[in-house]
Assembly symmetry: C2
Homo-oligomer: 296 residues x 2
Amino acid sequence: MSDPLLRHRAEALFARLQDEVCARLEELDGAARFGRDEWRRPGGGGGTTRVLADGAVFEKGACNVSTVWGPAPPALVEHLGVAAGEFFATGISMIFHPRNPHAPTMHANLRYFECDGGAAWFGGGQDLTPYYLYADDVRAFHRNLADCCARHEVADYPAWKAWCDRYFHLPCRGEARGVGGIFYDHVRELEPMLAFSEDFGEHLLAAYAPIVARRRETPTTPAQERWHLLRRGRYVEFNLLYDRGTRFGLQTGGRTESILVSLPPRVRWDYLAEPAAGTPERELLDLLRGPPRDWL
Amino acid sequence: MSDPLLRHRAEALFARLQDEVCARLEELDGAARFGRDEWRRPGGGGGTTRVLADGAVFEKGACNVSTVWGPAPPALVEHLGVAAGEFFATGISMIFHPRNPHAPTMHANLRYFECDGGAAWFGGGQDLTPYYLYADDVRAFHRNLADCCARHEVADYPAWKAWCDRYFHLPCRGEARGVGGIFYDHVRELEPMLAFSEDFGEHLLAAYAPIVARRRETPTTPAQERWHLLRRGRYVEFNLLYDRGTRFGLQTGGRTESILVSLPPRVRWDYLAEPAAGTPERELLDLLRGPPRDWL
């Protein structure tokens, strides 16, 4: 028998995490501050969108929470294969686009969902998208996730790492979006997952913040900057062509500005921009086009 | 009884139009030249992708032809509701992104399709996406299309204009992509449509080239440049989220670089970038968010 207050405990956790993540990111940036926009959903619920723009370290960052409920929209029923009826969903979603091409983009999401008939589950994940490969950074990022999973019997780093590799993949390019992380969904052990979500949420930045601090001042050439913007184009392609959360949010009448705030601020598309052999750009691309790597 | 050589006549027409359009655009640009890439499709057929980049007038432009055939991929069968079996498709597609924000983006497409059982049809269209509204330009663009349609009994400017307005619409933004044009599909009067396609193809640039020539030197501020890149973001959103041709092409194993060459070269996304009341940017946005306008 699950705790009828669990939805409120999850919502409160995500609200607290939003405050903590934004405070930590502002500290890391040192210049820009997050704005705050509250919005209401006509069908029930709403959210708080927090965006930082034109910072010293982060060109754009967003950390959003939303808690929505009401009759399940047809797209939701079809998407999840759940019974029509009432639903409840609460979640936190964040994405940070550093200015320096040597500092990777990071995305994370934690969510809790309930629908009619008593079904309820947690989902979420975190993944890293570098523009230049620093293997130590990637190892530290995965190590942090594996350590967090190891503290919780319900969490399965190898399975969730593989799920992440499958999910963040662009079939049209034959490329991974980045170097992965973890992805999980429909995990129904609610109390253990709430405890995991708290631990995971509190350690989301434990590996990422030091990576950004290490790379933020790396000298950068115009060619590297151009590569950065081209690779950001792949991020846009993934989010608009393939990401189920984005498409689902737009189809169910989510707040478009809050959903598409994930898109990078400046982006390029050039025709046939393949990097030359032997370059760091080629090294990254070969990695993204190859089989997923074990980073531990 | 349709001409068994019609597919070849359509293919030859599109190849000739590609040469003519590229020559005219190079003349208009005065600096850059189109490249030429031939590609083969493993399942049958291939195409010629012609791209111009970093021109004096056009920041990016592409004019592609492809002719493909073979067993209909499952996505095609589902997409078109046709019988599984052999298919044949030939088409020309073009998109031009001028550098100056006062010059509009133009897209056009003409295609011919056959499938097992003898069904065959033409589709196509042309539409204009301005970043600043010059009503005379829009009127000239629509007048050129209406005049072309008036020369052919098979063509129906009012119906095809309305179809274009419905098609190039972003539900997530509640905005039209631009100021429309014409869109038509599944038109089965083959000989009349081949004649229309020839006339339409030969007059595609009759209104657009003079518009670009008029606007190419318009003085531009950094704020106008930023608006240009933001609106190009909407173009990306439409093509990746909604455009059936793009999604269908990627799903059926089309050449990704040829399909996504439609995307603008430089793009921005800013959170909540709403223009102020009384500005030209607001005027355009109000137009795009309002009901379609009769431009004749």
